[in-house]
């Protein structure tokens, strides 16, 4: 569903991604690991179409379409979802109002009927239970004044409500307490099925105990330097990144 070929990307003329290739098929979970500043978030943002980043070379195909040709909201319409490392606060806009508009915008993009209020309410209730979201958080403005953990939980909640084809989750596990980590992982597992894909950006092998990845990739200085199965994550946990860095050079 997603194939990235030799992607290079820059921010303010500074090249960050230096030739990335990655293939994600339906039903697969890919984990992306790598040291701070290696370009993981950049990759996620480029995929979602953040205007600050410029893809300078290579191409990305998503659901048979040229992803780089699409506006960010069109990418969402095609089924791409990004769980932000730093979810943004939108003062004055309630979570419910925002989500309903988002869902209906996606449905409209797909030329489907908007969801009626009652069905939407049921959907919210069902998904709230999965991620243990408090009612009160739904009424509050999007992420505004949420704790770090609440923001991350809200990202997973949105993932479940919008039910995309591909979920890119940028460090959704960071800043979570042990219980929340379990809840968030359950959420992702609840989302997973044969038809959709997940790209997990994480620093911790711990998360991968809950969400079993099919592939693990290591990103260093804008390149994928090693790919493997879940045992690669265990190896990194034990040995750190230095040995890999040495091997690459």
């Amino acid at each position: 569903m997603l194939s990235i070929r030799n992607l290079k990307a820059a921010i303010e003329d500074k090249e960050i991604l230096k030739g990335i290739s990655l293939e994600v098929k339906p039903g697969e979970v890919h984990a992306i690991m790598g040291p701070n500043g290696s370009g993981k978030s950049t990759l996620a943002q480029v995929l979602a179409g953040h205007p600050f980043y410029e893809a300078t070379e290579g191409d990305i195909e998503f659901q048979g379409k040229d992803l780089l040709d699409l506006d960010p909201n069109e990418r969402a319409g095609e089924g791409l979802f990004l769980g932000f490392q730093y979810p943004v606060e939108i003062p004055g806009v309630s979570n419910t109002y925002f989500l309903r508009n988002a869902l209906n915008a996606i449905l409209e993009y797909r030329e489907e009927e908007p969801m009626d209020a009652l069905t939407f309410k049921k959907l919210l209730k069902e998904k709230m239970e999965v991620v243990g979201m408090k009612d009160e958080l739904l009424k509050r403005p999007v992420n505004t004044g949420f704790s770090g953990g609440e923001k991350k939980r809200n990202e997973i909640f949105q993932l479940l409500v919008l039910n995309p084809k591909l979920a890119i989750l940028d460090e959704t596990d960071s800043g979570l307490d042990i219980d929340a980590l379990k809840v968030v992982s359950d959420g992702v597992n609840n989302f997973r099925n044969e038809e959709n894909g997940v790209v997990l950006v994480t620093h911790y092998q711990r998360l991968l105990n809950y969400i079993q990845p099919d592939f693990v990739h290591v990103l260093m200085e804008g390149k994928i330097v090693r790919s493997g199965g879940k045992e690669l994550a265990l190896e990194l946990e034990e040995r750190g990144y230095d040995w890999l860095r040495e091997e690459v050079n």
Partner: protein, 482 residues
Amino acid sequence: MSEESTLADLQEYTDTDYKWGFTTDIEQDTVAKGLNEDVIRFISKKKNEPEFLLDFRLEAFRYWQTLEEPEWAKVHYPKIDYQDISYYSEPKKKELKSLDEVDPELLETYNKLGIPLEEQKMLAGVAVDAVFDSVSIKTTFQEQLKDAGVIFCSFSEAAHDHPELIKKYLGKVVPYKDNYFATLNSAVFTDGSFVYIPKGVRCPMELSTYFRINAAGTGQFERTLIVAEDDSYVSYLEGCTAPQRDENQLHAAVVELIAFDRAEIKYSTVQNWYPGDKEGKGGIYNFVTKRGRCDGESSKISWTQVETGSAITWKYPSCILRGDNSVGEFYSVAMTNNFQQADTGTKMVHIGKNTKSTIISKGISAGRSDNSYRGLVRATKGASGARNYSQCDSLLIGDQCGAHTFPYIDVHNTSTSVEHEATTSKISEDQLFYLQQRGIDEEDAISMVVNGFCKEVLNELPMEFAVEARKLLAISLEGSVG
């Protein structure tokens, strides 16, 4: 007003023209341009006004002649030729023959707001051939008010039917000498609304000019007077979300509010006069004087406004807090786009003890527009324990627009507390991207952020008005991206 009576009026009116010796260059349907005492006498006579009103007008006119038009630092417009204006416009507006003659963008907006075709014609000044089916609604409405003892009528009717009230209160909050435009209005005002709420009455419904029987088209020089007796309450809605076109470029209204002991007046406005086209041509100059006096103890006056229209807006709804423990509030959203200029704000004058005022102002500037907040908080010597809280936030969309905040504070006692907060922010790329990532397109994302920014003010509007105002903000922002 039915079609027939409009025509009858017109007939009578043109006839009167000649009686009054107006000379030959008057076309059949129009009044001579220019302003002099004869014109004022004519207006007063035409309206069959009591003597004291004519005197009021003449006094104002004579004073006006001694004045110089003010110049403001932040608002620019070509000089107005006051002799080139017709001060008693014909009862029937200059009509276009069909909607084809109307600015297509205006029509587009009407469609987006979901305004029915016949109503579109009315708003755009096109001859309406089908009569509205709203007369019956209006009558029921009037009956309910009558039962409650509330007076709600046009200013002209009030001058006939309740001259003692008009005489007692007219010009008491905004004296005719107040400012250039208020003086002009006092001399030539044509019509407006009058509201009187008797002691202890809670007005059973929101009063909107729409429901006023015989509501003429909003005039160029409107005059509104609202009096709330002890322990009464009224909520008054003014304006309309649909952009209104008008042949008259200059609008100078005066609004006076008086609240007695424990009375409360809530005054909400949505102002959406034609702002001019994208190049800044055409558009209304809106110079308004609005002031409320909290005369009674524990009385309250609350202004809420959403200003999106007009080429130039100049207005400062104010509160004079005379009664002890009285409360003044000002909630404002002012949005400017393209070449619009807005200079708005409020004055809160604390005179009584323990008076309290709150100012929440949200300015949004897009395009090449200029948006200023100007506010005065004054506390006199006797206003011990007065408190004010002001919050002025500006949101910029794009980098060619301007936002300015001018808070003036003038306190003459030691026990007053004044708190002022101000922020200016640009609409954040990250916020927009977050919303877009969830499927919402750029324009909707902007309008969502803007609506969120204005929420505290929109919440003050009556429910239905708020929904419309939200749509209006979204529409006014269109084309401001990129």
